[in-house]
C-alpha cells in the first residue's frame, strides 16, 4: 500500500488533465478486471462482471491545480484556480506542469497579507522573456504542487492525498476482491474538484443499483481545529452527511453492520461544508442510493496532506467486505406498495 500510495500521490493529474494518473491506475488494475475503458471526459472504468446487484464505486483521480491564463512580457505566468486553492497556502510553493516544467509561486507587494488574492500571485518558471516561457508553457496548461510523498511511521505525507488515497483504497480493494456475485464498476472519476463532473456522467452511463464514493475527509483532532468528530488513525468513516449528499440511511446501516461484523474500526462523519462524488451519484435519473467511505486526512488541499496507513488498510477491508456481501436490493430498499 505504501508504494502504491506514493506512486499515485506523485503522479500528475489535475482536473481536466487526468491522462497521466489514469494511465498509472489502469496499469495497476487491468489484470484484475474483465474490462477497462474511458469516456470523453476522461473517466476510467474498470468492470468486474457479475449477475447480482450493480454497484458503482467511485474514487476521483483529479487533484487541484493552477491554470495558466496569461503569459506576461517578462515570462511570468498568471493563473487561476482549478478547484479549491488558498492563496496563502500557495505562497512560495514549488509547482510542476504536465511536461515536467517547474516553477515557484511569487507574490506582488502587498500592504496587508490578509488581503492576499490569487490575482496578486504568479508562477515563475525561470524564463527571461515571453517567448522563452512559451517554449515550455502555453495558456491553458495546468500546474500542480510539486512534492515527494514521505512515510513517517505509520503515516504518509504528500500532495494530492485528496484523493489518491481514495484511489489507492479502490485499487487495492479491486486487486484483492474475492469472487462476488455483484457486478462491480470501479470508476476513477475526473473533474470532481471542479464540481463532481466526471461522476455525474459516469453514473448516468452505468445506471447502477447503488453507488459508493471513496474520498478523503477532514479531521477535528489537530490543535484548535473546527468541531469535527473524526480523528486520524481511528479508522475509515461512514459518512452521514456533507453539503452535497445525505447518505442513504440504509446504506449507512449496512456499512456499519459490515464493519462491526468484521471488527473493522470506523467513525461516523458529518461534514458541514464540502462534497464528494456521491453528491452527483445519488441525483442521477430516478435517484440512486449512495454512501461514502472516507479516509481521514489532515491539511486538506495543501501539499502536506497526511493520512494514516491503518485507516487505509481498514478502508480496503471494509470496501472488500461490502462488495463481496450478497446485496438483496429489495431487502435493503423495500418499496412499499399498497
Amino acid at each position: 500500500m505504501k508504494e502504491l500510495l506514493k506512486k499515485l500521490s506523485e503522479t500528475y493529474g489535475p482536473s481536466g488533465r487526468e491522462e497521466q494518473i489514469s494511465r498509472v491506475i489502469r496499469e495497476e488494475i487491468k489484470d484484475y478486471v474483465d474490462e477497462t475503458y474511458t469516456d470523453n471526459m476522461g473517466n476510467l472504468y474498470a468492470v468486474k462482471k457479475g449477475s447480482g446487484a450493480k454497484i458503482m464505486v467511485a474514487a476521483h483521480m483529479d487533484e487541484i491545480g493552477m491554470i495558466v491564463t496569461h503569459i506576461d512580457d517578462k515570462g511570468f505566468l498568471r493563473f487561476s484556480n482549478v478547484g479549491g486553492l488558498s492563496p496563502h497556502v500557495l505562497l512560495g510553493q514549488r509547482v510542476i506542469f504536465a511536461n515536467g516544467s517547474q516553477g515557484t509561486v511569487g507574490m506582488e507587494k502587498l500592504e496587508e497579507i490578509n488581503k492576499l488574492k490569487l490575482e496578486k500571485l504568479y508562477i515563475d518558471i525561470g524564463a527571461t522573456t515571453k517567448d522563452d516561457a512559451r517554449k515550455h508553457i502555453k495558456v491553458g496548461d495546468i500546474a500542480t504542487y510539486h512534492r515527494e510523498a514521505t512515510i513517517v511511521g505509520n503515516r504518509v505525507i504528500g500532495k494530492a492525498m485528496d484523493n489518491r488515497a481514495g484511489c489507492a483504497v479502490l485499487v487495492k480493494a479491486i486487486q484483492e476482491l474475492a469472487q462476488t456475485e455483484n457486478e462491480v464498476y470501479a470508476v476513477f472519476t475526473s473533474q470532481e474538484e471542479v464540481g463532481l463532473r466526471g461522476s455525474r456522467i459516469s453514473t448516468y452511463r452505468i445506471n447502477p443499483d447503488l453507488g459508493l464514493a471513496v474520498d478523503i475527509t477532514m479531521v477535528g483532532d489537530t490543535p484548535e481545529a473546527p468541531t469535527m468528530d473524526v480523528s486520524l488513525g481511528k479508522g475509515p468513516t461512514v459518512k452521514i452527511k456533507d453539503a452535497s449528499v445525505i447518505c442513504h440511511p440504509r446504506l449507512k446501516e449496512k456499512l456499519s453492520e459490515i464493519a462491526e461484523k468484521n471488527e473493522i474500526p470506523y467513525q461516523y462523519e458529518v461534514l458541514t461544508a464540502g462534497g464528494t462524488d456521491a453528491g452527483a451519484i445519488h441525483l442521477t435519473k430516478e435517484g440512486i442510493p449512495a454512501g461514502v467511505i472516507s479516509i481521514p486526512c489532515r491539511y486538506v488541499h495543501t501539499p502536506g496532506e497526511m493520512v494514516d496507513l491503518d485507516d487505509l488498510a481498514h478502508a480496503v477491508k471494509l470496501l472488500k467486505a461490502f462488495l463481496s456481501a450478497p446485496l438483496e436490493m429489495r431487502e435493503i430498499f423495500p418499496c412499499h406498495l399498497e
Partner: protein, 344 residues
C-alpha cells in the same frame, strides 16, 4: 441587418417570444424542421440522419427587469432578471411588456442629495420605473405584475467597424448561428436558440436531453475588459483580437482535443483568435456537457465591452471571425476531426 433587429428585440429570460418569432420567420425556410419545447427553446434542424449529430446553441435571452409591485404614486417596483450591476440602471430608458410601454428609471436629482449619499451605489430597492402616470390605478392599466422590462437602445455604428447597442450578449451569438443555418454542412445540424441562460442555464440542459447530440458547440458573447484602469491580465478578452476560446469557466473545462481542434482550425483558416482569460461565470456548455452520459462541448465567444448594460460595444470584425471560426469548426467535425468516444 439581422443583428440589429435581434439586438433591438425584447427578450428577457422567460420572455423570449419576440426573439423566437423573429428567428423563426427569418430561418424556417432554410431548415427541414422547426420545433419548440415546454420552456420555449427554438430548435431548427437540417441534415436529418447524417452523422455526427451536432448541436449548436446560442441563448436568446438577455438580462432585464421584472415588475413586482406598484407604489401609490404609480411608480413601479422592479427586480433584476439575470445578473446586472445595480449601478448601470440609474437614468436609463426601458420598455415594458408586450406593448412596449415606455418607462424611465429615474434617480434623485443631484441637487437634492446629501454629500454622503452621492458616493454610495444606488441599489435596486431605491430604483423605480416611471411610466409618467400619476397614480397606481393608471399604472395598473398599462402594466401587470410579472411584466418584463428591457433596456431601450437602438443599434448604432461607431468607431472602427464597431456597433453600440444592448443585448449583444447574446444576440450577436444568435446572429452567427442564424448565418450558419443558411449554409450546408455534412453533418446533422441541430441548432437551438436556448432560453433562460442568464438565470441559470435553464434551457440548454433540456435541449441537450431532447437532441442527445454527439458533440455540441456553444456560441456566446463574453466580457472584454480591455479598458483604461484594467491590467492586461484582467482583460478577460480584447476587442478586435478575434473570437475567444473558453479554457475553463465555473461550469466547464475544455477538453484538450477541443482546444487543439479549435486552435488548428483557426490557424489553418488564418482566423485571429484569443483565449478567454476569466475562469468564472458559466455558459450553456456547462450544462450540455453534463447531460446524458456526457457530451463533448466547445465554447467560442464574441468579445463585448460593457456587457449586461444598455450600451455595449462589439467589433464587427470579431463577429465575422467568430462566424468563420464556427463554420471552420463544423467542417472540421464533419471531416472526422474529433474522437467522439473514449478509448478501450
Amino acid at each position: 441587418m439581422l443583428l440589429k433587429r435581434l439586438s433591438e428585440a425584447s427578450g428577457a429570460s422567460g420572455d423570449e417570444g419576440e426573439v423566437r418569432s423573429l428567428l423563426k420567420e427569418e430561418l424556417s425556410l432554410h431548415v427541414e424542421e422547426v420545433t419548440t419545447d415546454a420552456l420555449g427553446n427554438l430548435y431548427l434542424k437540417k441534415g436529418f440522419g447524417r452523422k455526427p449529430r451536432v448541436m449548436v446553441a446560442a441563448h436568446m435571452d438577455e438580462v432585464g427587469l421584472m415588475v413586482v409591485g406598484y407604489e401609490k404614486s404609480g411608480l413601479l417596483r422592479v427586480v433584476k432578471v439575470g445578473s446586472i450591476d445595480d449601478r448601470v440602471l440609474a437614468s436609463k430608458v426601458v420598455s415594458i411588456g408586450k406593448d412596449r410601454i415606455a418607462g424611465v428609471i429615474g434617480a434623485k436629482a443631484v441637487h437634492l442629495q446629501k454629500p454622503d449619499e452621492r458616493t454610495k451605489a444606488i441599489d435596486i430597492n431605491n430604483l423605480y420605473i416611471d411610466l409618467g402616470v400619476r397614480s397606481q390605478e393608471e399604472a395598473e392599466k398599462l402594466v401587470k405584475i410579472g411584466d418584463y422590462a428591457t433596456f431601450t437602445a437602438k443599434v448604432r455604428e461607431a468607431g472602427d467597424n464597431c456597433l453600440i447597442g444592448k443585448a449583444f450578449d447574446n444576440r450577436a451569438g444568435c446572429a452567427v448561428l442564424a448565418e450558419l443555418l443558411k449554409e450546408d454542412f455534412d453533418l446533422e445540424l441541430n441548432a437551438v436558440f436556448t432560453v433562460q441562460e442568464e438565470v441559470g442555464l435553464r434551457g440548454a440542459g433540456v435541449a441537450a436531453y431532447s437532441i442527445h447530440p454527439d458533440v455540441a458547440l456553444v456560441i456566446e458573447t463574453t466580457a472584454a475588459a480591455d479598458v483604461v484602469g484594467s491590467k492586461e491580465a484582467a482583460y478577460v478578452t480584447k476587442l478586435g483580437d478575434g473570437p475567444a476560446l473558453t479554457l475553463m469557466d465555473s461550469t466547464y473545462m475544455a477538453p484538450q482535443q477541443i482546444l487543439d481542434l479549435v486552435a488548428e482550425t483557426a490557424e489553418k483558416l488564418a482566423i485571429p483568435y484569443q483565449f478567454r482569460r476569466l475562469t468564472t461565470a458559466g455558459t450553456d456548455a456547462g450544462i450540455i456537457s453534463q447531460t446524458h452520459a456526457g457530451i463533448l462541448s466547445a465554447v467560442i465567444s464574441i468579445p463585448c465591452r460593457y456587457i449586461h448594460s444598455p450600451a455595449s460595444i462589439i467589433n464587427l470584425d470579431d463577429w465575422q471571425n467568430t462566424l468563420r471560426l464556427a463554420r471552420g469548426i463544423l467542417n472540421a467535425i464533419a471531416e472526422g476531426g474529433l474522437r467522439l468516444e473514449g478509448t478501450a
